[in-house]
C-alpha cells in the first residue's frame, strides 16, 4: 500500500516536473522567437532602426520582471502557482493582441515636432511590447524560484528552447507573414498554460484554468479577425501601395523569406534614374521597382531594346566602360538590373553579377528576363548568390580576373541618412575589402565606385583613405598615381587601377567629362586651375576656387592624411574588418564644429547614428537603473547580509555584461563567415542559447567545488576568444572556399564552443546566491537584466569605436573577474567559517 502510494506520489512529482519543464520550454521558445519575428516585422513596416530597439525592449521587460518580483516577493511566494498562471495568461494575451493594438495607435512620425501627444503614443507603443517580455520574464523567473532544486535543469531547458526559438522563424518566415507568425506565438503560451494547469495544486487550479480558458478564447477570436499592417508613410512601399489603390501601379510580385519581404511594382509614372546627367533629354523608361522590406533596392528597366536605356549613358557609372574596351565585368552587390543594362550597352565581353541575397538573385533573374529581355545565367551573364567578400575569396582561389569591377551597393543607399546606416556592418567597404577586390583585377583593370554627393564630403573621403591604405598594403608606394575622381551634379565616381594610370587613359578620361556634364576632381598630376570654373559648383574650402572633393583627394593621396582625418568634421579614418562600419562617420570633435558653425540646424548634418546609440544607451540606463535600485532597497534582500547582496550584484552584473558583449559583437563578427545577416542572427542566437543551455544542464549534475568549475570555464573562454582573435583572420581564406552549409556549421561550432562554458555561469551564480538566501534570486535576475540592457548599446558603441577585439577581451575579463570573485569569496568565507567554528 505504502509503495503504491509512494509510486503515485513519485508519478505526481514526475508529472509536475515534466509539466513545469514544458511550460519553461514554451516560454523560452516564444521569448526568443518573438524577438526575431518582431525584428522582422519592424524591418518590414517601420524604419530599420526601430528593429534595433527590440532587443533593448525585451531585455528591459525581462529585467523589470526581476524587480517587480522582488517587490512582490512575499505576495508571490504565498501563491506562486496562481501568479505564474496569471502571468502566463497575460503573456499569451499580449502576444496575441499587441501588434493590432500598437498598429491602431495614430502615430505619425512626421508630426512629432508639432504634436506632443505623439510622444505619448510612442510611449504606449513601446510599453505594450515591453509588457510581453515583462510577463514572459516574470513567469520564467518565478518557475525557477519555485523549483529551486531543478533550477539548473529548468534554466538549461529555457536556454535550449530559446535556441530553437531563434531557429524556428528561419523556416516559418518562408511561408508565414511576420505579423501572423508573431500572433501565432501565443499558441506556445496556450500550450505552456495547459501544462501549467497540470502542475498547479488544487487550491489555485480552478482560477488558473479560468485564466487559461479566457486567454484561449481571445486567441481564437483574434485568429479569425482580419488584420493587415500598413507600411510606414516614409517607405516607398507606402507610396506604391497607395498608387496601387488608386489604380496607378500594379504589384507584379510578392515573395517572402526570413531575410525579407520582397515586392515588385510596375508604376509607369514613378521614375528612378541613378545619377543621370543633365544632358539626358528624355525621362527614364518605364520600370519595375524592386523593394525589400518596403525600401527601394533597385529597378529593372522595361525595355525591348538596349537603345531604350540610352539615358544610362549620361551617368558617371558609364565612364569606366568608356575607358576599358569590351571588358569582362564584375558587378558586386547589384540590387537591380540597371548596371547590367549599362554593361551590355557598352559591349561587355561577360558580366558576372554578385547578389548577396539569394531571394533577390532569384527575383532579379526572373524579372530581368521578363522585362529587359536578358537571360541571366547563360554563358555571357552569370549571376552568383554569395556575400561579395566570400565571392572575392573564392574568385581569388579560382584565379578569376575581371577588367572592370563595380561596387553597386553604394548607389542604392540613401546619400544623407543622418547616420541611420551607421551600425550596419559592411565587409566590402573596408581596407581588406578594397584590397581583395583589387587583387582580382586584370592588369589593365579598373575598380569603380559611385556615390551621391555630400556636403561637406564624407563617403568620398573615407573611400579615398580606404583606397590609399589598401594600395599601400599591396605594396604600392605612390597611390596617387592609381586614382581617378570625377563628379556630376549628383554623384562622384572613384576609379582605382591595379597599375598606375597611363597618360593615354588619363586623356581619354578628361575628354569624356565635358560631354557628360562632369568635372574632374583628381587624376595623377592634376592642375585644377585648368578645369575651373566648375560646371557643377559645390562647397569649397574657404576662399578657394576648387571644391572640397579636389582638396580632400589631393591631401589624402599626395600627403600624410593624418591631420585631415583628425580634423575633419566626420570620422573618415579607414575602417577594417575588425571595425567594419563604413557608414559610421560620427565624430565628437566634428559635432562640436558643426554645431558651432551651423547652430541647431547643423544637427541634421552631424551623422548622428553613433550618438543615437549613445543617447539610447543613456535613456535605457536611466530607465533601467530603478530596476536595480528597487531590488537592492526593497524586498527580502535588504534584510540579509550585505556580503551576499554585493556578491549577487557584482557577479551578475559581470556575467550580464560579458554575455551581451559577446552576443552583440558576434552578430557582426560571424557575418564574415556566414555571409547573411539574418542567418548570422539565427546562428548566434541558436548556437549561444543552445550551448549555454547544455552547459547549464551539466551544472545540474555537479555537486560541489562550483567555484573551481567556473574558474576553469573562465580560463577556457578567455583562451578560446584569444584564439579567435589571432587565428580566425588567417583561416578566412580556406573557410571561404567551403560550401555554405559547412560555413554555417563552422560558425555554429565557433559560437557553441565558448557558449557551452558561458552557460555554466548563470546557474552556478544562482546556486551560490541561494546559499545566502532565496530572496537574493530576484536581485540576481535584476542585476543580470540591468547589465544586459546597458550592455547591448554599449557593445554596439565599443565595436563601432574600437572594433571587435576590445569586446572579446572585455568579455573575457568580465568572466574571469566573476570567476575569481566567486573563488576568493568562497575561500574567504570558508576561512571565516573555519575561524568561527570551535
Amino acid at each position: 500500500m505504502y509503495s503504491i502510494q509512494g509510486f503515485g506520489f513519485s508519478l505526481l512529482l514526475f508529472i509536475r516536473k515534466l509539466a513545469s519543464m514544458i511550460t519553461m520550454f514554451c516560454i523560452g521558445f516564444s521569448l526568443i522567437a518573438e524577438q526575431v519575428v518582431l525584428m522582422r516585422f519592424f524591418s518590414e513596416t517601420k524604419h530599420h532602426h526601430i528593429a534595433f530597439f527590440v532587443i533593448g525592449i525585451a531585455l528591459l521587460g525581462i529585467g523589470a520582471s526581476g524587480t517587480i518580483r522582488t517587490i512582490l516577493h512575499r505576495t508571490v511566494s504565498r501563491r506562486p502557482e496562481l501568479w505564474i498562471g496569471g502571468g502566463l495568461s497575460l503573456f499569451t494575451l499580449l502576444t496575441a493582441v499587441s501588434l493590432p493594438l500598437i498598429e491602431s495607435l495614430p502615430i505619425d512620425f512626421l508630426y512629432f515636432v508639432f504634436d506632443p501627444i505623439q510622444l505619448f503614443y510612442i510611449f504606449i507603443y513601446i510599453f505594450i511590447l515591453f509588457l510581453i517580455f515583462f510577463f514572459g520574464g516574470f513567469v520564467s523567473a518565478s518557475i525557477l524560484e519555485l523549483f529551486t532544486q531543478d533550477a539548473p535543469l529548468l534554466y538549461g531547458i529555457n536556454l535550449i528552447a530559446g535556441g530553437i526559438g531563434g531557429l524556428a522563424p528561419l523556416l516559418l518566415l518562408h511561408w508565414i507573414p511576420s505579423h501572423i507568425l508573431f500572433q501565432a506565438m501565443s499558441l506556445f503560451g496556450i500550450l505552456g498554460g495547459l501544462s501549467w494547469i497540470l502542475t498547479v495544486s488544487s487550491r489555485d487550479g480552478d482560477l488558473v484554468q479560468r485564466f487559461w480558458a479566457s486567454s484561449l478564447l481571445v486567441v481564437l477570436v483574434l485568429a479569425f479577425l482580419p488584420w493587415e499592417p500598413k507600411p510606414a508613410i516614409y517607405k516607398p512601399l507606402y507610396t506604391l501601395t497607395t498608387l496601387q489603390e488608386e489604380g496607378l501601379a500594379t504589384k507584379v510580385l510578392e515573395k517572402r523569406s526570413p531575410r525579407g519581404t520582397y515586392h515588385a511594382f510596375e508604376a509607369p509614372t514613378f521614375h528612378y534614374a541613378p545619377f543621370i546627367g543633365l544632358q539626358a533629354s528624355s525621362p527614364p523608361p518605364p520600370q519595375i521597382f524592386l523593394l525589400k522590406d518596403g525600401e527601394l533596392e533597385g529597378t529593372i528597366f522595361k525595355v525591348t531594346s538596349l537603345k531604350e536605356a540610352e539615358i544610362l549613358d549620361s551617368t558617371p557609372q558609364s565612364i569606366p566602360y568608356r575607358l576599358v574596351d569590351h571588358p569582362k565585368v564584375l558587378i558586386l552587390d547589384e540590387t537591380g538590373g540597371v548596371n547590367l543594362i549599362l554593361a551590355s550597352r557598352f559591349n561587355a565581353a561577360s558580366i558576372t553579377i554578385v547578389v548577396s541575397d539569394p531571394t533577390m538573385a532569384e527575383i532579379l533573374q526572373e524579372q530581368v528576363q521578363q522585362n529587359s529581355g536578358f537571360t541571366l545565367g547563360d554563358e555571357f551573364i552569370e549571376i552568383v548568390s554569395e556575400e561579395p567578400r566570400l565571392f572575392l575569396e573564392q574568385a581569388k582561389m579560382q584565379d578569376k580576373r575581371f577588367d572592370l569591377v563595380h561596387i553597386a551597393s553604394t548607389e542604392s543607399l540613401p546619400t544623407a541618412s543622418s547616420g541611420l546606416l551607421a551600425p550596419r556592418e559592411n565587409y566590402l567597404l573596408t581596407v581588406e575589402g578594397i584590397r581583395e577586390t583589387l587583387s582580382i583585377l586584370t592588369e589593365d583593370g579598373i575598380l569603380s565606385v559611385s556615390r551621391g554627393l555630400q556636403s561637406p564630403p564624407r563617403d568620398a573621403f573615407r573611400l579615398l583613405t580606404l583606397t590609399k591604405e589598401a594600395l599601400q598594403q599591396r605594396g604600392v608606394k605612390d597611390p596617387e598615381n592609381y586614382v581617378l575622381l570625377a563628379r556630376n551634379y549628383l554623384a562622384f565616381l572613384l576609379m582605382i587601377g591595379l597599375v598606375p594610370i597611363t597618360a593615354q587613359r588619363k586623356q581619354r578620361f578628361l575628354d569624356l567629362l565635358p560631354g557628360l556634364g562632369m568635372d574632374p576632381e583628381y587624376y595623377p598630376g592634376i592642375q585644377i586651375e585648368e578645369h575651373l570654373p566648375y560646371r557643377n559648383k559645390v562647397s569649397s574650402p574657404s576662399g578657394q576656387p576648387y571644391s572640397y572633393y579636389h582638396w580632400g583627394a589631393k591631401t589624402i593621396l599626395e600627403k600624410d592624411p593624418k591631420a585631415l582625418i583628425d580634423q575633419w568634421v566626420y570620422d573618415i579614418s579607414p575602417v577594417t574588418d575588425q571595425r567594419p562600419y563604413f557608414h559610421n562617420f560620427f565624430s565628437w570633435k566634428g559635432l562640436g564644429q558643426i554645431l558651432s558653425q551651423l547652430g541647431r540646424e547643423g544637427i541634421r548634418k552631424a551623422e548622428l547614428g553613433y550618438l543615437i546609440v549613445v543617447i539610447t544607451g543613456i535613456c535605457i540606463g536611466i530607465i533601467a537603473l530603478p530596476l536595480l535600485m528597487f531590488t537592492v532597497y526593497f524586498g527580502g534582500a535588504r534584510s540579509t547580509p550585505t556580503g551576499g547582496r554585493l556578491y549577487a550584484v557584482v557577479y551578475f552584473l559581470s556575467i550580464g555584461f560579458a554575455f551581451l558583449f559577446l552576443e552583440i559583437s558576434w552578430l557582426a563578427f560571424f557575418r564574415r563567415i556566414v555571409g547573411d545577416p539574418f542567418l548570422t542572427v539565427v546562428i548566434v542566437f541558436t548556437g549561444l542559447l543552445f550551448s549555454a543551455g547544455m552547459g547549464s544542464l551539466r551544472i545540474g549534475k555537479v555537486g560541489s567545488r562550483l567555484e573551481i568549475v567556473i574558474l576553469k570555464a573562465a580560463f577556457r573562454i578567455l583562451l578560446i576568444l584569444l584564439l579567435y582573435e589571432t587565428v580566425v583572420p588567417y583561416l578566412m581564406f580556406p573557410i571561404a572556399q567551403t560550401p555554405a552549409p559547412v560555413r554555417y556549421g563552422i560558425a555554429l561550432a565557433m559560437v557553441s564552443l565558448p557558449g557551452y562554458w558561458m552557460g555554466v555561469f548563470f546557474p552556478i551564480g544562482l546556486r551560490m546566491v541561494q546559499r545566502h538566501g532565496q530572496s537574493f534570486v530576484p536581485l540576481a535576475w535584476a542585476s543580470n537584466g540591468f547589465a544586459s540592457v546597458i550592455a547591448s548599446p554599449l557593445a554596439q558603441l565599443l565595436s563601432m569605436s574600437f572594433g571587435f577585439p576590445l569586446l572579446f577581451i572585455l568579455a573575457g575579463i568580465f568572466y574571469l573577474f566573476a570567476a575569481l570573485y566567486t573563488f576568493f569569496y568562497q575561500v574567504i568565507k570558508g576561512i571565516l567559517v573555519e575561524k568561527r567554528s570551535p
Binding site: L110, T269, H271, Y489, N536, I622, M629
Partner: protein, 260 residues
Amino acid sequence: MKRTVCLFYRVPQLRFALLLSLWILLSGLLFGWGKKETPKTLDGEEVFTRDRERMVVTQIEARGVRDPIVLSALRKVPRHRFVPKSLEERAYDDTPLPIGYGQTISQPYIVAYMTEALQLKGTEKVLEIGTGSGYQAAILAEITPHVYTIEIIPELADRARKTLNEAGYRFVKTRQGDGYFGWEEESPFDAIIVTAAAGHVPPPLLSQLKAGGKLIIPLGGPYEVQMLTLVEKMQDGTFRTNQLLPVRFVPFVRKAESSQ
C-alpha cells in the same frame, strides 16, 4: 549637520528616496519636462501683420535675404491664410508646418531664399512644381503676374486654388497633375521652382526652361537632408549647377497626370 547627513545616508529608505529623486530629476532634464510654451493671444489681422513684419525682419533679413522685391512680397502675403486653422497661431514661426496629406508649408526663410535665388525682375514666366498650400505661388504672384503652379494631390490642389482665389491671386494658373512632366503647353519658362525633394532634375523641366533661365530644386532622397540646387541653362543649351543650401523637403509625390 554632518551627523544629520550621515544619518540621512545611513537609513536605506532615505537613501533610496534620495537616489530616486536624483533619478527623476535626471530623467526630467533628459526628457525635457517642465518646458512651457508661452501662450499667444490673437488679436485679429493686426497681430498677424505684426507677426509677419517680425518674421521678415528676424527670420528673413537677418539671415541675409536682401532682394527688396522678395521682402516686399513676404510682407504682403498673409501666410496665416495658407496654413490649417489649428496652426494659424504658428503661421509666422520659423518652421515648416504640416498642411495634411503628408505635405508641409515650407519655412518662411526657405521660401524667401528660393525666390531670391531665381533673381526675378517682375515680368518673368514662372512655373512652380508642388503647389502645396499655395503660399509660394502667392509670393511669386506678388512679384510677377505669370505664375503657373502644379500640384499632384487633388485635395491639396483644390484647397490651394480656393485659398489663392480668396487671397486675391486669381490670376495664378493652377493645375492638378504630375509635375515631373512640367507644363509643356505653356513652356518655355524663365524660371522653374520645385518645392518637393527629387532624386534628379526631371529632363522635361530642363527642356521647358528658356536659355538663360534658372531652375531651383531640392535634390536628394525623400525624408533625407537634400541639397537645394540652382540649375542655369546657358545660351548654348548646356547647364551649370550650384549647390546652395542643405534643406529638408517632403518627397516629390508621383502620380498620373490629370489636368484641370
